[in-house]
């Protein structure tokens, strides 16, 4: 029976069965589901109501005639509610100003939009363009107000153009947004719209990378400290070599962490798929098209993610070896977390110029290499040999850190309750 496997198994099982782990996993799932449905829920709770607006157009003299505003607005405001019915219901006003005011007060409509000729000659109204006024019983939300404003601007521009003889499809053509195609010559493939998307995706994945390390690094450090704080260590080291113990700890705790993570990621993507949102998801200014991701990029991500994860796990294990009480964990996880923030910044800077000398160097340096090599694979074009170097450097780093952790751990075994002095640490390596 392989001792390392036995330790991995114990660490993994104990963790995965612990209440803390299960509760964290469930809360994580709830958070993911919550975030996924948050927009819908927010809409239902805060604004899921249809807004009925009557349009009173005083710019047309006789009844029945139209200046085109109502039709333009109807064509533009096509959003629907979660229930499927249109968000904005626009209708022609059935009465004059006084009558409409009464209707608003009575709640027959939510508001009435008055389109009227300017009385005083403001500069902007010189060419006889109308003014707009919305009367409602309750104040409109900011989002609705700006949506109406933009719809009205669009309508006015469209109608203005029509007046000048540019109408119909020709006018619509003027509204079409510009598409900037980009081509990166040394890669030799036209990326077009994809370039922006891979930038966004890389950004999200790098952040994910960083957050995982922050969350689970603590986990590994605590697991190592546990050996000493529970004083089980004397029995363990009388049968197992410290290096085997450390490898087992790091792997077991790492796998438990990745399992939890896997559950969350799977749930997240599952929900996105269920909503049919895999083809395009807007996260703030970044649009993500998961379905369009290069599978090779995902392979690179998971490979480098694993290497990076275990590199830092090794570092956290070495840190954990320095102290023997759970209360002292913060003293060592703090500095390592700071180091992680630095790596994150380096990765984000590298995204702007993935083939810069700095990025190339960092993509092959211990600890920074996995995250920055991922940035380069995603956005740059590193030669294969450099990727190999990254993997070799990372694996060496992991083994070296675990070895260091084992040495320090071995030297500090009987120092119950104490933190190791610098002298004791140095002595451990003699």
């Amino acid at each position: 029976m392989n001792v390392v496997r036995l330790i991995v198994e114990r660490e993994y099982r104990t963790r995965v069965r612990s209440k803390g782990w299960i509760i964290a996993t469930v809360f994580g799932l709830i958070a993911i589901v919550g975030l996924n449905f948050a927009p819908t829920i927010a809409e239902t709770v805060f604004g899921g109501r249809q807004v009925r607006i009557a349009v009173l157009d005083e710019t047309v003299a006789q009844a029945g005639a139209t200046s085109g505003y109502l039709e333009r607005l109807q064509a533009d405001l096509v959003e629907t509610l979660a229930s499927g019915e249109p968000r904005y219901a626009l209708e022609r006003a059935s009465a004059d100003r006084a009558g409409m005011l009464a209707q608003v007060t009575a709640g027959t409509v939510d508001g009435f939009l008055l389109i009227y000729e300017a009385d005083g000659l403001l500069i902007t109204e010189i060419d006889g363009r109308p003014k707009f006024k919305l009367t409602t019983l309750e104040a409109l939300g900011l989002a609705e107000r700006s949506r109406l404003t933009s719809a009205l601007s669009g309508a006015r521009t469209f109608l203005d153009l029509e007046k000048r003889g540019i109408g119909g499809p020709e006018a619509l053509e003027l509204f079409r947004p510009v598409v900037l195609d980009t081509e990166v010559v040394d890669i030799g493939r036209v990326e077009g719209e994809q370039a922006g998307e891979s930038w966004g995706l890389t950004y999200v994945l790098v952040l994910l990378f960083y957050m995982t390390l922050i969350i689970y690094g603590q986990y590994v450090a605590m697991g190592v400290i546990e050996e000493k704080s529970t004083r089980v260590v004397e029995i363990i080291v009388s049968t197992v070599r410290p290096f085997q113990l450390m490898i087992g700890k790091v792997l077991g705790l790492g796998l438990a962490a990745l399992t939890q993570y896997g559950v969350w990621v799977a749930a997240g993507f599952g929900l996105l798929a269920a909503r049919g949102a895999l083809s395009g998801l807007q996260v703030g200014p970044v649009s993500l098209k998961f379905a369009a991701i290069d599978p090779w990029l995902l392979v690179a991500f998971f490979g480098l993610f694993t290497l990076g994860f275990f590199s830092f796990a090794g570092l956290f294990a070495a840190g954990g070896s320095l102290v023997s009480r759970t209360e002292d964990a913060g003293q060592i996880t703090g500095p390592i977390t700071m180091a992680l923030v630095v790596v994150l910044f380096m990765a984000i800077y590298s995204m702007d110029n993935p083939e810069s000398a700095g990025a190339v160097l960092l993509s092959m340096a211990p600890l920074t290499s996995p995250m920055i090599m991922f940035v380069r694979i995603a956005l740059g074009d590193p030669p294969a040999w450099q990727i190999v170097v990254t993997c070799v450097v990372s694996l060496t780093t992991i083994l070296a850190l675990v070895w260091v952790a084992a040495k320090v751990f071995r030297a500090g075994i009987l120092m119950y309750g104490r933190r190791m002095s610098v002298r004791a640490v140095i002595r451990a390596f003699r």
Binding site: I235, M415, G417
Partner: protein, 345 residues
């Protein structure tokens, strides 16, 4: 058997083992042989170096000098897996279930999974905590935790069990269970080395003992032989009048009396038969016995110099270990002596 026979190819042999902490010797030039197939009592005052010695045997601490051999070969990873260890600092995984825990340790010591599970169940049954096997360790009472800890050292049926004060914290009933378990191991040819301060119990349980003080061996060997070899004899006398006898002119020194008899130690070289004749000539003697000293008395005699200056090395080590930062008595005799010895090597 004596340490001189350190070439023995059976049992555990320590040869010239020394271990110092920050210049203070916890164990010094300790040579010891523990024959196989018996229960060996490892005795000494607090801080004599018993725990340090056990840690050296298990390679938790590296000795500064000396070797530890099992069956004639240096102890390595492989042989250590045939040892069982109950450390002085108790500790298991608090969040792990009792049965899982024992199975884990048994497997760590190299037992296959099925055997480990069966053995763990058997031991739990034997110690009356089978009904708690699915409880987490930290849900158990202290006494039961103590039992689990002992079982973790025995579950894999070790060739050599090193138990650091296994009886501390056990009630008389559980002590009885453990004693029986240790006898069982011995009867199956296994070796048990344990430290204890309950000397009457050691007398009943151990075939051989070693007494150490200040890191040095004071006495070791077969318990009966040690008692026989002790020069001192104790005389028990009960007179018909139940009053202490007149010992004027006899080579006797008064000792703490027994329940209904007087006790005297016989001066070295004196003939007890002569003493009896004199006593009987003075008054009616109902009861007269010549006793060997008890282990308790041998222990106190062997460690007599410890009474005041106490356990220098051990105290210094512990002060370091628990971080209490206890300062040592300046210029205490033990410290100076140890330092001299260090210098002499």
């Amino acid at each position: 058997m004596t340490p001189a026979e350190s070439g023995a190819t059976t049992g555990l042999t320590l040869d010239g083992v020394s271990k110092a902490f920050e210049g203070v010797k916890a164990v010094s030039e300790l040579s010891l042989t523990v024959p196989e197939g018996l229960i060996f009592g490892f005795l000494g005052p607090n801080g004599a170096g018993k725990t340090t010695t056990m840690r050296v045997i298990l390679d938790i601490l590296r000795p500064d000098t000396g070797t530890v051999r099992w069956r004639g070969r240096p102890v390595d990873d492989q042989t250590r897996r045939r040892f069982g260890y109950l450390p002085e600092e108790r500790g298991l995984y608090p969040k792990m279930k009792v049965l899982d825990q024992l199975v884990f340790f048994a497997r760590l010591y190299g037992m296959p999974r099925d055997e480990a599970a069966a053995a763990a169940e058997r031991w739990l049954e034997r110690f009356g905590i089978a009904d708690r096997k699915d409880s987490r360790l930290d849900e158990l009472s202290r006494g039961n935790q103590q039992k689990v800890q002992v079982l973790a050292a025995l579950v894999h049926d070790p060739d050599l069990a090193l138990l650091d004060e296994p009886f501390s914290g056990l009630d008389p009933l559980n002590s009885e269970l453990l004693e029986a378990a240790l006898r069982d191991l011995r009867d199956r040819g296994k070796t048990v080395l344990y430290s204890s301060h309950r000397l009457e119990q050691v007398e009943g349980l151990c075939e051989e003992v070693a007494i150490i003080a200040r890191g040095q061996l004071r006495l070791s060997g077969n318990l009966e032989a040690i008692r026989d070899a002790a020069a001192r004899r104790i005389v028990h006398v009960r007179t018909a009048s139940r009053t202490p006898p007149d010992i004027g002119g006899l080579p006797l020194d008064p000792e703490e009396p027994g329940r209904d008899y007087a006790r005297f130690s016989l001066r070295v070289g004196a003939d007890p038969q002569l003493v009896l004749q004199v006593l009987a000539s003075r008054e009616t003697v109902e009861y007269f016995a010549i006793e060997r000293p008890s282990l308790q008395e041998i222990f106190i005699e062997a460690t007599a110099d410890e009474a005041g200056a106490a356990d220098e090395a051990g105290a210094a080590h512990k002060a370091g270990a628990d971080g209490m930062g206890n300062t040592r008595e300046p210029g205490a005799a033990g410290g100076v002596e140890s330092a001299d010895r260090t210098g002499a090597e």
